[in-house]
């Protein structure tokens, strides 16, 4: 209790909080176990589910192969979730991340298959396009003052349309670099390369978000944009940068998507990729640093949903289960993170 020294001050009008209900958790004080539960609850839950499924399905769930499937399929979701999280830190939605990734996957394949570009050229071009899409979204929000949720819903639709136009609604499954497809199935020490790359990107994102002034300023804007402006944050520039980061990450996710699936299929991703990412980001905000979006929490959120769905599928549940799990997790997660946020605000 560091505050005790000042409490004894003779001039003090009253002991802290005497006029209002005392608040439980300003850790490190207060109900320590409660705050530990909040921080690590999701992790404990994941471990419990893994143990349960492993006992139930020892031959199918608890196998290297199953974990490789989970790892490589979730690595794309992780990148998309990170793309969603960065602008969300400043309280701005980017619902176009799924569509950007989908278009990026199609373009990567198309540029190689149709235009004969090599892998490196195609990937760099697609990343630039991702940044540009982010820039357009960012300008719509900052320069033209549109609501991010609506603006990016609009751009998502436009991107989906663009993809249909570009692909003539046909899959591209050959004619592009075999290296990329091989990479999608390659492993290192039994870990899929896709997962390694995704975790590296997550590591960098986590560093930028938590350890740099950029990340801290994003969080400040998310808390109060007028107050951030008055402590010297160039809010518009920062929000634009966060949308560009989002676009770039989503495009990178698209490249991984192509590697993972081995073909670019129109109309399959869009909202389908967005929803699990949204659920993971909000689940992440209910753990690790509760009430705030964070990378570790987002990874845990993804793993939780993936593990649940994997077990259910192995148990013979129908395919609609994964949709229900994603949606249900999203609702629970949004509820939980809103509750944490309310408590932080002292309401």
């Amino acid at each position: 209790m560091t505050a005790t020294a000042t409490d004894q001050r003779p001039n003090s009008p009253a002991p802290p909080g005497s006029g209002r209900p005392p608040r439980r958790a300003n850790w490190p004080g207060g109900a320590r176990w409660l705050s530990l539960g909040e921080r690590f609850g999701l992790l404990v839950l994941i471990v419990a589910i893994i143990v349960a499924w492993s006992v139930r399905f020892p031959d199918t769930f608890a196998t290297v192969h199953n974990w490789q499937i989970i790892g490589s399929s979730q690595s794309v979701n992780l990148i998309i979730a990170l793309a969603l999280m960065v602008p969300l830190l400043s309280n701005n939605f980017d619902l176009s991340v799924g569509s950007t990734a989908s278009l990026a996957s199609m373009l990567t394949a198309g540029l190689m298959a149709r235009n004969g570009w090599n892998l490196l050229e195609a990937v760099l071009m697609v990343l630039v396009i991702g940044l540009l899409i982010g820039a357009v979204n960012g300008l719509l929000v900052t320069r033209f003052g549109l609501n991010g949720l609506i603006a990016t819903l609009g751009s998502a639709t436009v991107l989906d349309g663009t993809q249909s136009w570009y692909s003539h609604n046909l899959s591209i499954s050959s004619g592009f670099s075999q290296k990329l497809v091989d990479f999608g199935t390659a492993t290192v020490w039994k870990i899929p390369w896709l997962t390694v790359v995704a975790l590296l990107i997550a590591l960098v994102t986590g560093y930028v978000v938590a350890q740099t002034p950029f990340g801290r300023r994003l969080v400040a804007v998310g808390s109060s944009s007028p107050a951030a402006r008055l402590v010297g944050v160039r809010v518009d520039r920062l929000v634009l940068a966060s949308y560009m980061t989002s676009g770039g990450l989503a495009a990178a996710g698209g490249v991984l998507l192509l590697a993972q699936q081995g073909s670019a299929t129109p109309g399959t991703t869009g909202i389908g990729v967005l929803l699990p990412a949204l659920a993971a980001v909000y689940l992440g905000a209910s753990t690790w640093t509760p009430g705030q979006f964070n990378v570790v929490g987002t990874i845990l959120g993804l793993v939780l949903v993936a593990v649940i769905v994997s077990g259910l599928t192995l148990g013979g549940a129908a395919t609609w289960v994964s949709g229900v799990a994603d949606g249900g997790a999203l609702i629970l997660a949004v509820g939980a993170s809103a509750a944490f946020r309310r408590r932080r605000r002292g309401a």
């Binding site: 209002r20 008055l230 932080r344 605000r345």
Partner: protein, 545 residues
């Protein structure tokens, strides 16, 4: 305690409210200890105490939001168990609550504002009869002598009138004149002096009609001016209930804080010789024109002006929030960069905005993050943010500024208003600014924290900072400033310093009465004579953009 219920002739002589031995504990904290007092009918009763003294808890028990642990509440001679209050109970016993600025809808008309709370008996899906509604509201408005049309949009109604409309809405069904007790929680907190005066006049009016009025305010002068009696709470305990006539400003401070008031600390070393830091030459910004002003190092200059006089706009322009239309502003001889907040901060300017919750606070972030917000670069070693140093600095600020909080990682929103304001101030003072701009630095802050904040401002001035302070409270201008300039009708209209710097003089300056007032005695008892509304109606524009 049983005798309490046996008041002889309840309707006539019993007090409007008698609170008897009410106690309340939250967790381990005793918020109220055995508090007893009574409020006579047809009078205004002030409920006084610092932040955390228990007055909000008491009001919440009366309103039925919280339930007491023990005690009784007697209303019009009927004894009620204070452990079983609920919101419905309060309403059916004639207790009405009006919270500051809460509960009116700015984009709806006055009549619609009445209708949302009551629907005038109509079922929720039945068509609304607009003519009947307007007639009905017109009658209520007339009864309460409020001079607006039911069709006016609420946002266009002056803030004081909004408060009165909220009161009229609460009391509209009290058919029997003088029944009912009105509880007003800081009704004047966000109002400038002349608007506040209108609310205070209205409160006297309710009391004349026989209502009992209980009100909370941090403004000492209005506590003295308007109330008949007052109850003081400190640390959850009842200190005293007495007639307002027995009180003066210093006994009031003594009763609220438990200490004798600290004399206003003027600048003792003359600043006449000090270098001029801020120089405004014919500056034109917002509704202001031709502003010429010099602030020397170590000087605290106050700006008196009405709501919408452009006083806040001036500060915002100096901080680079909005551009000036013309003229020059220099700090230590260097021209200020227009419209660039980061440049202003780099140039040594600090700004504490008026609206703490909306423009200064990161409510759900930690105290540490709130403190380091403008100085993140200090902790950036090009590879990572030095969190340990950041936390250590925050801890040091908490100790040096005597901020009451559970440590650097506690959330900003969990602190009381006074401590929040200290954090906002400390955020800037730690940067050792050359120019400090303060807009209503002690609004909604209790007297103890207020004195502490004034001392901090004085300290930073003593270190050579030039300070510009805007306040709608003339007492604050007198307490905190070396010199006060009046801003009215877009110009600087007058100036007061030294012995001429009195509450009355500051009030006059705010109203554009520039001529020196001669040898009048300083008065803080009332806010001067009722000043006629000499200001043009343009003073209705919102304070901040």
């Amino acid at each position: 305690m049983t005798a309490v219920g046996e008041a002889q002739s309840p309707r006539t002589t019993a007090p409007a409210i008698r609170v008897n031995a009410v106690s309340k504990t939250f967790g381990g904290t005793r918020a109220l200890r055995d508090v007893s007092f009574e409020v006579p009918r047809a009078s205004v009763h002030a409920l006084c105490g610092g932040n955390g003294s228990g007055k909000s808890t008491l009001i919440k028990i009366l309103a039925g939001v919280h339930q007491a642990d023990s005690g009784t509440i007697e209303i019009d001679g009927h004894v009620h168990d204070a452990t079983r209050t609920n919101p419905g109970w309060a309403g059916s016993n004639g207790l009405y609550f009006v919270h500051q600025a809460v509960g009116t809808f700015p984009s709806m008309t006055v009549a619609e504002n009445f209708a949302v709370s009551s629907a005038f008996g109509a079922r929720s899906l039945a068509p609304v009869s607009w003519r009947a509604l307007h007639r009905r509201v017109q009658k209520v408005l007339e009864r309460f002598e409020i001079d607006v049309s039911p069709k006016t949009i609420m946002a266009q109604v002056p803030p004081a009138t909004r408060t009165m409309i909220a009161v009229a809405r609460a009391l509209q069904y009290e058919a029997e004149a003088g029944r009912g007790t009105l509880v007003l929680d800081e009704p004047t907190a966000s109002l400038p002096a002349e608007e506040a005066q209108a609310v205070l006049d209205a409160m006297r009016g309710y009391a004349r009609r026989g209502h009992a009025v209980v009100f909370v305010s941090h403004r000492l002068s209005e506590l003295l001016a308007v109330s008949d009696s007052a109850t003081f709470l400190r640390d959850g305990q009842h200190v005293r209930t007495c007639d307002a006539a027995d009180l003066d400003e210093s006994s009031l401070v003594q009763l609220i804080t438990g200490h004798a008031p600290v004399a206003p600390s003027r600048n003792t070393v003359g600043t006449d010789q000090a270098e001029v830091r801020l120089r405004l030459e014919n500056l034109a910004v917002g509704s202001l024109d031709d502003i010429c002003l010099q602030v020397r190092a170590g000087e605290v200059v106050g700006i008196a002006g009405l709501l919408g006089s452009g006083r806040s706009t001036l500060l915002q322009s100096l901080f680079g929030v909005r551009p000036a239309r013309g003229g020059r502003a220099t700090l230590d001889g260097v021209e200020l960069t227009a419209n660039d907040v980061p440049a202003a901060i780099r140039g040594g300017i600090a700004y504490v905005p008026e609206d703490r919750a909306g423009q200064a606070a990161f409510a759900e972030l930690s105290v540490r993050a709130n403190l380091s917000a403008p100085s993140l670069r200090r902790y950036w070693n090009r590879v990572w943010l030095r969190r340990a140093a950041e936390r250590c600095d925050a801890q040091s600020v908490i100790e040096r500024y005597k901020i009451k909080v559970d440590g650097p990682e506690a959330y900003f929103a969990t602190m009381s208003g006074g401590n929040q304001q200290k954090v906002v101030l400390a955020r800037w003072l730690e940067l050792a600014p050359r120019l400090l701009l303060l807009d209503e630095p002690t609004q909604g802050v209790d007297i103890g924290a207020r004195t502490a904040i004034h001392q901090l401002v004085r300290q930073v001035a003593a270190a050579g900072t030039a300070v510009l302070l805007v306040s709608s409270d003339p007492q604050e201008l007198v307490d905190a400033c070396d010199r006060v300039v009046g801003v009215h009708s877009g110009r600087i209209t007058g100036e007061a310093s030294g012995a001429d710097l009195t509450v009355r003089r500051c009030t006059e300056l705010g109203h554009g009465l520039g001529a020196p007032s001669g040898a009048r005695t300083p008065t803080s008892r009332a806010l001067g004579p009722r000043t006629p509304a000499t200001h043009p109606p343009t003073s209705m524009e919102p304070r901040t953009s």
